[in-house]
């Protein structure tokens, strides 16, 4: 460089606008002065510059190819291996690796490799022992900067493999950075120390940036694809589950009708269509109110409750359900069960189950009618038999001898027994059919027990069969809530059993005591007792066991089943205890709920 040129450059630094003119003039002056020796120099410089431009063009082309390669391919592994191949080709590297950080354990994994003896890594990650900050790769990631290392064996960051690779001496390593994040390292190797140039390093760095973006995109793509697939599966599973549930609901013999939170019908199964005489296609999507007229007046309460729940879900109390027997306009009798659908304390609607009980109701009616008719038909001849026998006993047809009197007494007492049996049968069938309703009122159990025991005492006198009767009740016994007539019947039946199955001069004690929320009645006798094997069946209809003493006593086997039903109707409990040893008797206990005065 000449002195004149340096001076001109100095000016150029100060006054950029004017410098160009001066430079041109100076060059012309130089060319004029020393033309001969400057020509080859210029030619050489042009050639150098041309080569440089060609390299840059080649590099740019490589970059473009890499860019095209990694951005066009959705197959990340193929793109990475292809990128390494191109890179090696361009800068003359012998081996190349791409290592990525595994987010799960923060270690560095191999993702792609090129130029190795082993097969290239395709798909998945192969772990290295390196953590971030460890080894050369770890250093690059930690420091976020590229490095050109003349000979790795002289570099303390390098962690040598157990088997030293002769190919890995000269290394370029560059971070794969996306924005602020470093996701991995790209490394190229050559066995000749000092083979790579800083220009090569720039190239590796530039490609690294592209690769990083591509990897990031691919990872995002994978994430989105996985998520889409998962959502798709979820949706499919839900559809399958919904179809399955719908199929189950369709198959149910009972009608199912579902309304949403706005009282609109959103599901009916085919049984509902059959029972209510509706078509699903004209029902679904309609407000339930549109159908009230169709079902008749009987369904008013049902629809009102649904509407009340829909309009004000807070009116629903946990555990609220509704069940009613409806007689529809088409004369079908339907039992409807209604329950709200609550999910995480949100009211979603209601579900109603319809059961067609037309047939059952008819059968029940026929059964009751049959029992009533049979008992009526039995009573008429019984009236004659008993009436005439009693009339004869009264002497209406003249005086009788002792034998005639005895025989007629047998006829009369057996007719009486038959009459009780018919009454009990009728009573039990009515209780079981739910035709007996209780008129509940506060009752003084002590009074009722006294009256019932009075009857037994009178009977014991008439029959000249001595019995020791004792009533044992605390003075402050609270009142129970029951039906006077039916509670009387319970005590009468149990006392009657105690009297009948206890030998003459036996003891019967009735003990009344308040227990938790109830009054408990214990009736103890020292009669024949009940064998342990019979105790489980004692409340069954017509069961009388096999004790000859019991069987010799007239009885229907219906008294205890009636008592049990009546106690249950009062929401009380009944049980018995007996050793089964004659003379130790048995204890029958039952409870009745206390009367709670309303405020």
């Amino acid at each position: 460089m000449s002195l004149g040129q340096s001076a001109l450059v100095g000016i150029g630094l100060l006054l950029t606008g004017i410098v160009i003119v001066l430079l041109v003039r100076a060059s012309l002056r130089f060319a004029h002065a020393s033309n001969a020796h400057l020509v080859p120099e210029l030619e050489q410089r042009v050639a150098e510059r041309t080569a440089e431009l060609a390299r840059e063009k080649h590099n740019t082309e490589t970059l473009l190819r890499v860019l095209g390669e990694v951005s066009a391919s959705l197959d990340l592994d193929r793109a990475l291996n292809r990128t390494l191949a191109l890179l090696n080709e361009v800068i003359g590297a012998e081996q190349g690796s791409i290592l990525l950080i595994n987010a799960e354990d923060n270690t560095i994994h191999y993702r792609a490799g090129y130029g190795y003896m082993m097969p290239s890594i395709v798909g998945g990650m192969k772990p290295t022992a390196l953590k971030i900050g460890e080894g050369l790769a770890g250093w690059i990631i930690k420091n976020r900067q590229a490095a050109l290392i003349t000979d790795v064996r002289q570099d303390e960051r390098w962690v040598e493999l157990p088997v030293k690779s002769p190919y890995q001496r000269n290394v370029i390593a560059a971070p794969l950075a996306v924005g602020e994040d470093v996701i991995g390292v790209i490394m190229v190797f050559h066995h000749t120390t000092g083979f790579f140039t800083p220009e090569n390093m720039n190239m590796v760095q530039a490609i690294g940036s592209q690769v990083a973006v591509a990897i990031n995109n691919a990872q995002l793509y994978e994430l989105i694809r996985d998520q889409a697939e998962r959502l798709g599966n979820m949706l499919r599973n839900q559809q399958v589950e919904a179809s399955r549930q719908q199929a189950i609901l369709e198959a149910v013999a009972d009608g199912v009708l579902v309304t949403d939170a706005n009282n609109v019908i959103n599901f009916v199964n085919s049984s509902t269509e059959r029972i209510l005489g509706l078509k699903a296609e004209t029902t679904i999507g309609q407000s339930l109110d549109n159908f009230v007229g169709l079902f008749g007046k009987a369904t008013q309460t049902w629809t009102q409750i649904i509407r009340a729940w829909s309009e004000d879900p807070t009116s629903y109390q946990p555990g609220d359900t509704y069940a009613e027997q409806l007689t529809l306009e088409n004369e079908r009798v339907v039992l409807v069960h209604l329950a709200p659908v609550i999910w995480r304390s949100e009211f979603l609607g209601t579900v109603s189950i319809f059961r067609d009980i037309t047939h059952e109701v008819e059968v029940d009616r026929l059964k009751s009618e049959f029992v009533a008719t049979v008992s009526h038909e039995l009573r008429t001849p019984m009236t004659s038999i008993k009436g005439y026998a009693d009339l004869l006993l009264m002497g209406a047809a003249g005086a009788l001898n002792e034998k005639q009197t005895h025989f007629l007494e047998i006829v009369s007492s057996n007719t009486e027994r038959l009459s009780i049996l018919v009454n009990d049968l009728l009573d039990l069938s009515r209780i079981e059919a739910g035709r007996v309703s209780l008129s509940l009122q506060p009752l003084d159990l002590r009074e009722i027990a006294e009256s019932a025991m009075g009857e037994v005492a009178r009977r014991s006198q008439v029959e000249k069969r001595e019995m020791d009767l004792k009533l044992d009740a605390s003075p402050d016994l609270p009142r129970v809530y029951g039906d006077l007539e039916r509670v009387h019947q319970i005590l009468n039946n149990l006392l009657d059993n105690a009297y009948r199955y206890t030998l003459e001069k036996g003891h019967i004690t009735v003990h009344l005591e308040k227990v938790e929320g109830e009054v408990q009645v214990d009736m103890m006798d020292n009669g024949v007792g009940i064998a342990p094997e019979d105790q489980g069946r004692i409340f069954e209809r017509f069961f009388r066991g096999e004790n000859p003493l019991v069987l010799a006593t007239p009885g229907t086997g219906l008294g205890l089943p009636i008592v049990k039903q009546l106690v249950n109707m009062h929401k009380g409990r009944i049980w018995m205890k007996s050793t089964g040893i004659a003379g130790e008797g048995s204890t029958f206990s039952f409870t009745l709920p206390l009367y709670q005065a309303k405020e």
Partner: protein, 125 residues
């Protein structure tokens, strides 16, 4: 001697009631169905009418209503004597205007006692 009208379609039972009440010292007029009972009530003006429920031509309920609907006979106490003992049936009998509802089978003692009690309660004059 009090006069009692009985209506019962079953002959054996009609006779049984007649014997029983005769034995107890009452005069008995008997009818075999409801229609006859209504006619006899008007004709005989008994002190008490004892009606079966299930009878041909006219049921006991209808006969009772007819007797209660007539100015001349409406003061005569009516008692049902029936094998139909369900609550609804008893209620129907009482609604028709009866003062008592007795169930079959009955013992002669029982029947006599009830008749005596009703007569004492509703005796004329």
């Amino acid at each position: 001697m009090a006069k009692i009208l009985i209506a019962e379609d079953e002959r054996d039972i009609r006779d049984l009631i007649t014997y029983t009440l005769n034995f107890a010292g009452y005069e008995v007029v008997s009818a075999g169905d409801g229609e006859e009972a209504v006619a006899l009530a008007l004709q005989e003006m008994p002190d008490l009418v004892l009606l079966d429920v299930r009878m041909p031509r006219m049921t006991g309920y209808e006969a009772c209503k007819a007797i209660k609907a007539d100015e001349k006979t409406k003061g005569i106490p009516v008692v049902f004597l029936s094998a139909k003992g369900q609550e609804a049936e008893i209620q129907a009998g009482m609604q028709a205007g009866a003062v008592e509802y007795l169930l079959k089978p009955f013992s002669p003692d029982q029947l006599t006692a009830r008749v005596q009690a009703v007569l004492a309660k509703f005796s004329k004059g």
